[in-house]
């Protein structure tokens, strides 16, 4: 059973509250029809590119299947602005890095996933740990 402190969910909730009048009320993530909770995926692949964009960053990976065939996936991440404020740059996730993605696949069946957990192949977190440790110069 996964215990998850949905602080993020909640803080987003304030934003959602403020648009309450005009918008349908959703618990949090407004991209509710984008990914399918019934389609969990675990992907191991090589980064080809990370788009450091908003509203969500996207990590593009090439995944080699058991038959040797390579498929390209794109994995949704968070807004990169907080990482930039902590000193990360676009070099933080270079092409060629091996990553493991656990998440859920797109509802329309395309090779897109929501990256609930993304780590390097050795298990190390991509950017920040759960206590926001891991930023460049964050050795204190």
């Amino acid at each position: 059973m996964t215990k998850r402190l949905h602080v993020a969910v909640a803080t987003l909730g304030f934003g959602a509250l403020l648009t309450l009048a005009a918008a349908p009320l959703f618990a949090h993530h407004s991209f509710a029809a984008e990914f399918d909770p019934a389609k969990p995926v675990k992907l191991k692949g090589t980064v080809t590119e990370m788009e450091w964009i908003n509203p969500h960053s996207w990590i593009h990976i090439d995944v080699k299947g058991p038959d040797g065939k390579v498929t390209s996936w794109m994995v949704e991440g968070g807004s990169p602005n907080a990482l930039l404020r902590r000193g990360f740059t676009k070099d933080a996730l270079p092409a060629g890095a091996e990553v493991i993605v656990e998440g859920y696949q797109a509802k329309d069946g395309s090779n897109r996933a929501n990256g609930r957990d993304i780590t390097f192949a050795d298990g190390k977190k991509l950017f920040l740990g759960s206590n926001n440790t891991g930023a460049p110069g964050d050795e204190k």
Binding site: W52, P80, L84, G87, T89, K90
Partner: protein, 270 residues
């Protein structure tokens, strides 16, 4: 020796005359910190957004809109009127031009990048303080902040780039890097890569005009740097004000029309 002293006198007269000539060049009012004051609402008065090179009038993309959205002519803003594309890049320019009414990021209300934001047919406002100069563009709420302190490096690419500025006399010089590859220079398909580097110069030329110059360099697309220049005109009307051109809502049918539950009657390309 009379000949030599006459030459020296002539030289002295000429030397005195040169600073005098310099003194008649326009000197803008000072901002509170002694720099030229560029505060104001400005706008370019040309058709560079259609095509930065010299161009004649042409039919527009929508026959039913006829003269309203036909292409107006323009004498161009490119010095020498040549854009030095690398030979391998010319096909892409041709391709862009052929698909311009669907592929131009402006159609989708995407941010225009630099230098295109300067010559969009909408006003922009310079809000100048000693440490940062903010430029707010009416088009699509585009905005830039120019760092006037110690230059810093762009951590990632962005649509409006990363601007470090300094003064050279009364000229504001802005060094722009960190521009992504996704903007165009105009509606005619002139493009660049993410190696684009732009150096802008804003020089007051009269009470109500600036001279704007930009040097463009991108070794992945062009064989050498090239330059654009144009005057910028101050909005002098008493009620001059930037309003909103938040065009994202106008672009929704174009961007998402084909994903509607009930497609609207009419077009939804791709």
């Amino acid at each position: 020796m009379p000949n030599r002293s006459w030459t020296l006198s002539l030289a002295a007269i000429l030397a005195a005359a040169i600073p005098a000539a310099a003194q008649t060049a326009y000197r803008a009012p000072r901002a509170a910190d002694g720099k030229a004051d560029l505060n104001g609402i400005w706008q370019a008065l040309n058709t560079a957004d259609w095509d930065i090179q010299a161009h004649a009038a042409a039919a527009g993309p929508a026959p039913m809109l006829a003269a309203d959205f036909a292409q107006p002519p323009g004498t161009g803003i490119v010095e020498g009127n040549e854009i030095p594309y690398l030979p391998a890049m010319l096909d892409k320019k041709k391709d862009n031009f052929a698909k311009r009414y669907s592929e131009d990021p402006e159609v989708k209300c995407y941010l225009p990048g630099v230098p295109r934001a300067t010559y969009m047919p909408y006003p922009f406002q310079i809000v100048q303080s000693p440490s940062v100069i903010l430029i707010s563009y009416e088009y699509a709420a585009a905005v830039r902040t120019i760092n006037m302190g110690k230059p810093t490096k762009a951590p990632v690419d962005s649509w409006m780039g990363w601007s470090n500025g300094h003064w050279e006399g009364d000229t504001l010089v802005v060094d722009v890097t960190g521009l992504n590859s996704k903007t165009w220079f105009d509606r005619a398909g002139n493009f660049h890569s993410d190696a684009l580097h732009v150096v802008e110069r804003y020089t007051p030329r009269s009470a109500d005009t600036l001279m704007y110059e930009a040097t463009i360099e991108d070794p992945k697309v062009f064989s050498k740097p090239w330059k654009i220049s144009m005057p910028l005109y101050r909005h002098v009307e008493k009620n001059a004000q930037l309003l909103e051109f938040k065009c994202v809502e106008f672009a929704e049918e174009l961007l998402y029309g084909n994903l509607r539950k009930q497609p609207r009657g009419g077009t939804a390309p791709k």
